[in-house]
Symmetry: C2
């Protein structure tokens, strides 16, 4: 086991809120942190004495960042792998590996990997050339067409509900394919619910976090509750799948697996939706609910510290609600509402200057005797903060 506090520097690629909270967990274990983000206003850059802000293409800066780091991780998966691959001997410091990153940052590679591994995914179709247009027309509606790279929080998605939508989309699609773009069409399933499971992994050992239950609005995570209201059988399936996927990818660090629950004739069935090899928005309430948060877990893995059993601190139920830029009026929240926010156990504001619509500006966590009570309170506090 390494000794801490004597110069261990963890480099974090990406300085958003996930990077900030990871840096805080690392600081609480005595480590130094360094942050690289092309946006000089990124929140985590403010809270490190080793900030690096440059485009990823500026190889000399990226190399300087890599050289001073003992280990490197990332807080979002849309990183230019080719630049990172140019870091020579320092590539070995990156956790999870570039191989994992390549799978998780491309929807098509990800889906193919999952399907090939026998993991349940909803039917999808690769859209690459003219031949694929015919296949798309035979594909059952409704359909979600997504860019294979760079999309998150619903960006780069087109939903086709009926034949007319498809007909009007086809000419544009044809153009995009001709221009060399690759897309993926996904069958839209009717959701009974959504889950996420965060698994940590070091060498061949996996560490599962308790499962979260999520609700998205317009493809952006809206709320999460804990504990997830699911059967033991579903819980077992999610845990097995998450561990198996992390193992198949040989993840060293964190992997978040998002799931759809679909009601089928045979009962509730789960499908893997997406992979994120990093801390995840749906894991925020681990900071309040568990003995080891998702950020603590990753910090321990990166610092080569033992993990132990991850478990809830109490029997309380929790809910997390994202605060998007949409909640702001005149660029501000009605923070006065904090004075009588019932059940509120955490309010985090990420310090981003521009509260654009759909931009994640903060989140809040409430507690309650039941998940419904916690969730009702979370929504009420958010509503009050938005001045409604």
């Amino acid at each position: 086991m390494k000794e801490l506090g004597n110069g261990t520097v963890v480099g974090i690629l990406g300085g958003g809120q996930l990077g900030l909270f990871l840096a805080q967990s690392l600081a609480r274990l005595g480590a130094h942190t360094s942050v690289f983000d092309p946006d000089s206003q990124a929140p985590a850059l403010r809270h490190t004495a080793r900030p690096f802000s440059a485009p990823f293409s500026e190889q000399s800066r990226l190399l300087a960042f890599a050289e001073q780091a003992s280990v490197i991780t990332y807080e979002f998966e849309h990183l230019p792998v080719h630049y990172l691959a140019g870091l020579g001997e320092h590539v070995a410091k990156i956790r999870p590996s570039l191989k994992v990153l390549e799978v998780a940052q491309d929807r098509l590679i990800e889906k193919k990997f999952l399907k090939a591994g026998g993991f349940p995914v909803v039917p999808f179709l690769e859209l690459k050339d003219g031949d694929d247009l015919a296949k798309l027309q035979a594909f059952p509606l409704p359909i979600l067409v997504k860019t294979v790279r760079g999309g998150y929080d619903g960006k780069g998605q087109t939903r086709l509900n009926k034949q007319a939508d498809l007909d009007s989309f086809l000419p544009r699609l044809k153009e995009r394919l001709s221009a060399g773009e690759v897309l993926v069409a996904e069958q839209v399933v009717e959701l009974h619910g959504e889950l996420s499971c965060i698994v940590g992994r070091k060498a061949k050992q996996s560490f599962l976090m308790p499962i979260f239950e999520n609700v998205h609005q317009d493809s952006i995570l809206d709320t999460t509750v804990f504990p997830a209201q699911i059967s033991d059988e579903l819980r077992r399936q999610v845990e097995e799948l998450s561990t198996a996927i992390a193992t198949a990818l040989d993840v060293q660090g964190l992997l978040t697996v998002e799931y759809f629950i679909v009601k089928e004739a045979s009962g509730l069935k789960i499908y893997v939706n997406e992979l994120a090899p990093r801390p995840h928005n749906s894991g925020h309430l681990s900071m309040q609910a568990f003995n080891i948060s998702q950020f603590d877990l990753l910090a321990r893995l990166l610092l080569d510290l033992p993990v132990g059993k991850i478990e809830p601190i109490s029997n309380a139920c929790f809910a997390m609600a994202n605060i998007l830029g949409d909640c702001y009026h005149d660029k501000r929240l009605k923070l006065e509402a904090l004075a009588d926010a019932e059940g509120l156990v955490e309010i985090l504001l990420y310090g981003k200057e521009e509260p654009r619509p759909a931009r994640k500006m903060g989140h809040l966590i409430t507690t309650g005797a039941t998940v419904d009570e916690a969730l009702t309170r979370a929504r009420a506090v958010r509503l009050a903060l938005s001045g409604s």
Copy 2:
């Protein structure tokens, strides 16, 4: 109410663990932070993009620090007030005020202030000149003689248990008084227990944290438990006294009040032991146990955010155990013990490089169904970490 994330910079004097955790709470509310510490290795300096490291006497650096800060606070009270007083218009940014700092950093001024205000303190004696030696000889043993300034964690204290101790101490004392030193003699009371209460205050409004119960070893905080095992009547007295003292000092920010519980013929009686106008070691478990930690509370006060009711998140009981340098062998903890640490909900390592005896290196927090269970677990984890 001010808007955050748009350039609010909170300056923190002192970069130890208390400064670091305060900076983390501020970061979680979107604020920028800046840290000033003469020791360039201070933990909090690593986690800010605005570090200042210089002696306090370097007025130009102190001024530069003050100029870029919207508001200034401190994480320890042994600051040279005369240098801070030289900051001109920026003095008004300092919270709590220099007046509070002057009272809290001098044991004699503090005791006189408390006595004059009618707050219960154990009998004490000012030792200034030769005349006071006779008074000391008439003072009931055992006695604790303390320096009036700069002492913390038992530093600068001499305990006189019996007449022989006093006799052998007197010549040295005489010399020190001749050299112009001022000391204070305190009657040693037999402790039934110790408590602390942290009160936040903004304008004329006070915000009380739930009370902690503490145990010291060799004058250094050893363990804290929550909830304190005290009667409602004692709780009421502590709350009233803490609020009254913060009000008398017109504290803007945090005030920690430490109490002795003494068993007297009439029942349990409480005495005020010490004041600290800042977050406090005994408040660490507020990070896990309460909806608003002591650091969150101070952050909200400094950022002019509403506070609301401070309360436990659950019915769980908690214990905190300090990890001193004494727990280290060959400059390391046996961190392998984390793998099966029962009931552990937090382990914090401050990242200090030199694990000297009696130096606070970290702390851990455990939970349990009772405070005894939590405390037993905390001690067991610490023992395991120390390799015993």
